[in-house]
Every structure is written in C-alpha cells, then in structure tokens.
Amino acid sequence: MPATVKGKLTIDGCELDITNPDKLLWPEDGITKLVYLQRLGELAPYLIKHCRGRYLTTIRYPNGIDGKSFYQKNCPQPQPPFVQLAEQSGIHYVHLDSLPTLLWLGNLAALEFHASFDRINEPLVPTEWVLDLDPSQDEEPRIMEAAMRVGDVLHSLGIRSIPKTSGATGVQITVPLQRDLSFDELRHIGLFIGEYLTSTYPDLFTIERLKKNRGKLIYVDYLQHYQGKTLSAPYTPRARPGAPVSTPLTWDEVRRSPHPTEFNLLTIGKRLSQMGDLMEQTEPQQLRPILEFISKR
C-alpha cells in the first residue's frame, strides 16, 4: 500500500479520517500507525478512564519516535464535532472522554498522554497523591528496589498504594485519596516521606531539586504532584524504543524487579484482560491523621 492511503472509520457513529496507516511510529518495533490505533483500542477503556475529567497534554510525533516531537495542549484544528474541550487559563484542552477522541488523537500521532492532577470540575481537590521516583541514570537497576522501599514506608503508616511504571525510566507510587487534603498539605507529607527516605537510604534517594547535584541517586519528586502539573497517565504509551506503556503493577511484581519495557503496546492487551485495572483495586486512603501528626512537630 502506498504511504498516502486515506481511510474513513466510523466509531460510535463518529466519522474519522485515518491518514498514513502504514507510517512506522515505532520503527524498531515495527509498529505502524494502524497497529498503534488497534492497540489504542485495547487500551481505550483504561486510558480514557484515567484521562477523563482532567486537562490533557499530548506529545505528538508526526514522523515516529525518532523524528521531531511537540507538546500539544491546545486542541489541534480542525476540531471534529465529537471532540469535547476543557478551558483553563486560556488554553483549550482536549477532554479525552471517548474512543473516537482517542483514535482521532492517535491518528494525529499523539503517542503520549499526560493528564493533569487537577480535575476539570474540582481543580483544588486532588483525588490521588503521587510520589514520582525519577532515576538520575538512564538504566537504574535499583528502581524497583527503590519503589519497594517507598511502598514499605507507606505500608508502615497504614497507607495502601499502587506502583506504576512511568513507561520511561521511573516509577510512580499512587495513593487514591479521600478528598479531604489539598495539594499543599500533600506536599507536607511528601517532604516528610522524602526526608525520611533520604536519611534512611542515603545511597539510594535524594530530594535535591537540581539535577546536576543528584549524582546517581533516585529523585523522590514530591513536588510534581500539584495543580497545573501533569503526569504520564496510567496506560499511556511512551515514545521510546520497545513501545513501553505506563503500567500499574502489583507489589509482588515489583519484588521480582521487572524491566519497564516488559510492559509495552504489544503485551498490554493480554495483561489487561487478565488483571484488569490495578489502579481501581485500592480504596481511597485516609491521610489526614498523618498530616496532623507531622504538623505538630
């Protein structure tokens, strides 16, 4: 087939143009746009669930992951009639709430989906809390060990959490929340946990903000979780070799220290059909007593 083939797709009564289905988006992995759209279809129920109600930033790679990329916050034009918008500070974000919208973005070579922590309707009320573990080295064999340490500390405080690969090199620890804490209050707890981790495992963790001063330590980023900031959404693909997908894991999986690329566009469908959405399997946690305790110090 020539590379300029166009096709029309009708999904849920919405008509969608598909352009260049044979364009290689992950060339090394042989993933064409057509394959990508098929895989997005598998991811759709999960990815959409975690982007719905949030402001979406996508990263587009019109010529595949080795080509130029750009961040897209404002809705691309022309905007199809089925695409909903959400406005914040003069930016008209796409509201990713349906399969047609997801596939439309996929056809525009949006390969990464980053969702805001703040909700469209309740911007000041975080519904989860995230600690982002960000390695300073491209290959960090200790990242899963580090995640385990964080999980253990939270567990010792009676907090249940879900580890998820960022899809790149990091791991993010998510705690679903009862909606009674502010972003600032969560930073208090984050600083406390971060200080505890760095003093207990000084060879593993740092809370140093300047990258150049972090050495080989893993950065406990408790500051990223804030209104106006975004995080790679659960189940977003990443524009990296191996087509990794940001994937929630069980703590047992973390214990066997898997490589983040084990969870990728080609394997994710089967995993999801077996395990469902791990993000949904932990009930909202109560963190206020902890905040009150550490605030008294």
Partner: protein, 279 residues
C-alpha cells in the same frame, strides 16, 4: 569571556549583528553568611507565611505595591512584552562628542564584537566613528529593561557604556551644606594650588591596587594555613527518623484491634465524611 547578550546595532539603514561582553568585573571577595553557633551556611528560603510552605519559582509572580499591602501582579510574559517592541537592537539615534557627557552618567561598560557575517558592517562603523571622533547615543533593550547607552571606539573594538536617564541623576541642588558663594583666602588658595601641582602626574591605572582586598586575601591564607578553619556540620536528619518512629508507634497503638488494613480504620469521629465518589 562569555556572551551576555546577542543582537544588533542599527543606525540608519545599516544593521550590524553583535555579541556583547561585560568589560569590567567586580573582584570583591565574596563571603557567605555562617551561623556562628554551629558553622553552617545560612540557607535562604522563599517562604509564604500564609500557606506555611516553601514557595517554588513557578509559583512566584511579581507584584507592585501601589499602597501598603495591596498589589497588582505581573507575569514574566507581561513584563517582557512591555520591555520593547521585542527587537534586540542597539539603536543609535544621535552622534555627539564624548566630552559632552559628564562621567556621572556612565553606568557599566560592555565590549561589542561582530557576530555571524557582520564583520564588514562592524568594521565600517568602527572606522567611520574613529575618523569622526564622535560617539553614538543609542537606545537599547536588554532583558526587558530599556536603557540609554553611548557607543564609542576603544582601539579596534566598539564599546558600549550604559548611561543613566537624566531623571535618574540627582540634581546637585539637593546636596546639603554646599557653599552659596565661594570666598577663600588668597594665601591658602595658592598653597593648595602648589600641592596639587606637586601631586600631578599622568594617569597610570596600574599603580593603584585594592589594598583592602590584598590584606583580606592575606588574612584568608593565614587562617587556612593555621588551620583556623570551620567546617559546616553534616545536616542532622535524625529528627525525621524519630518522627517516623513516633508516627508508626502511634498508628500501631490506634490499630491494635484491627487486622491488615490499618488505612481503613476510622479516624476519631470528628472528620466530615468523604464526599461521594464522582464518575
């Protein structure tokens, strides 16, 4: 030397791309502030008293206090837009004689070198100014601030002095205690004139040095040699570990009667119920 600014000189229709370098540097010996009690360098924190948080740069705007406690806020972009029409130029508007500008106007000196293919235009401007013996008065905008400058020739280099706007120079009439009419003793005057004569010499800047700096550097070296050295103590972090232990113990005490899921334990009943889950 590293480039502090890139742009262009424009005069008439001529456009000269240039790079700018600081011509002078402050050699003051800088010292840090140390807590005498323990020898730790003082940290500066940007703190908000209301939110009781350390404030990140991203959360900081600039505010103009138009009356006590009342501000109008500006984002960086707004100020940048004001700065100029966005053009990065040194626009020469007039040529004057150097001696027409009183030294009080001079602020800071920069060297300008030709950038990219600007060599020819640069040489032309340099030579023309050399021959006319005049200096250019220019309007410049650097980092969202506009100011006035004088462009002159130093050997084979164009130099730029930023100069104060007239309303930034305070009038002499505001200086207290100045004599209204000069009335001096003739004899004293001739003696003073003689003294000036004796001390008159050509200006040779090399013969002056910063004695204070030399003495201070001496003293620093003596202190290092005599091991009179204070080392900042390692940050003590035991408190956070203690706090964690205390917190764990207190949670354990609350949870002794429950199994496995401590997080679900009801906190003391004062809390409002969690809102219904959306979606």
């Amino acid at each position: 030397m590293h480039t502090v600014w890139k742009g262009a000189i424009s005069f008439g229709l001529v456009h000269v791309p240039v790079k700018m370098f600081s011509a002078t540097e402050d050699k003051d010996i800088s010292m840090r502030m140390i807590h005498k009690v323990c020898g730790t360098p003082i940290a500066y924190v940007r703190q908000c008293k209301t939110c009781e948080v350390d404030v990140e740069w991203a959360d900081i705007a600039k505010g103009y206090e138009y009356e006590k406690g009342r501000f109008v806020l500006f984002e960086k972009e707004e100020l940048d837009q004001l700065g100029s029409d966005g053009s990065k130029t040194i626009k020469i508007v007039d040529f004057v004689d150097l001696h027409e500008i009183d030294p009080i106007y001079f602020q800071k000196t920069y060297y300008l070198s030709p950038d990219q293919a600007g060599g020819n235009a640069y040489n032309l401007l340099l030579e023309a100014m050399k021959q006319s013996g005049r200096i250019g008065i220019a309007q410049i905008s650097i980092r969202s601030k506009s100011s006035l400058a004088a462009i002159r020739v130093m050997d084979n280099c164009l130099a730029m002095e930023t100069i104060f706007y007239p309303d930034e120079v305070r009038p002499i009439s505001q200086v207290p205690g100045l004599p209204e009419k000069v009335d001096v003793n003739e004899k004293e005057l001739s003696m003073a004139a003689m003294l000036i004569d004796q001390l008159s010499t050509p200006f040779e800047p090399d013969q002056y040095q910063d004695d204070y700096r030399v003495r201070l550097m001496d003293m620093i070296n003596k202190k290092i040699a005599g091991e009179e050295v204070h080392v900042a103590p390692e940050q003590q972090r035991t408190n956070v570990v203690d706090l964690m232990a205390a917190l764990q113990a207190s949670l354990e005490a609350v949870n002794t009667d429950t199994t496995e899921k401590p997080a679900k334990t009801k906190a003391p009943a004062k809390k409002k119920p969690a809102r219904k889950k959306a979606e």
